[in-house]
Point group: C2
Chain length 115, copies 2
DNA sequence: AGCATACATTGATGAATGTCAATGTTGCGG
DNA sequence: CCGCAACATTGACATTCATCAATGTATGCT
């Protein structure tokens, strides 16, 4: 994988006028990689827990127990969500705090409705 | 896989009050299976082509060429989209016509925003 | 009946994915 | 400096997945 621009940043020009009438191969691949990040039950639960966490953020140690997964596995899933542009990672001291990227859920919905 | 109720039918009771505050394992699996259907570029293109097709429907023979895929592969992808509740299949004569299930895109967006 | 067309299903194969154990890295406290 | 705690990375393994070739199943036509 070559690290595609998954979720376009908020500072994007006016969005997605479908000139051809249907998705070209490139756009389809970009969008599919975002849905790939959502295509795992544990990653959906991670998003849900982070979203409803106190302060809107959570560290790995808070996430490994409710999912009943090992710490390396949780870190792996979190990395996929960060690479997809859905989660933001901020390291403070020894802890890594994950939070939802503002607007990322809405932008992902947009990827669906502008098919 | 045991054929889970992927996209709840339109005749669903008032939607998804999150009692626990975060997704339980079952709900996460149900929702993930819908996003799994969307996690492939060729399937996204299929949805896009069907959506913008004349009359809102298309047969397999219209879909195999723009995707540059074999007919069995296209049929396979279409089956996944039907099983996910996103496409509807209607057989008329020798042809099989696929169309978007009304409201399925919006319901899928709902699966995102109610995480 | 016989044949061609449109589509589905099966089986096989290479690639991608989820998980864990082991190890590496970084920051904090004594 | 030493050890511990939190997290990331690597390597291995089993499972799932996307694709195709071959075959099966209807349906329409002559």
């Amino acid at each position: 994988m070559t690290s595609l621009p998954l979720l376009e940043p908020a500072t994007e020009k006016d969005c997605c006028p479908p000139s051809t009438g249907s998705l070209d191969a490139y756009e389809a691949q970009v969008r599919a990689s975002v849905f790939k990040a959502l295509a795992d039950p544990n990653r959906l639960r991670l998003l849900s827990i982070v979203k409803s966490a106190d302060g809107g953020e959570a560290c790995v140690c808070d996430l490994t127990e409710p999912l009943d997964l090992g710490q390396p596995t949780v870190s792996h899933h979190l990395k996929i969500l960060v690479d997809a542009g859905l989660l933001h990672r901020e390291k403070r001291g020894t802890w890594a705090y994950y939070s939802l990227v503002p607007g990322s859920i809405e932008r992902t919905s947009g990827l669906l409705e502008t098919l």
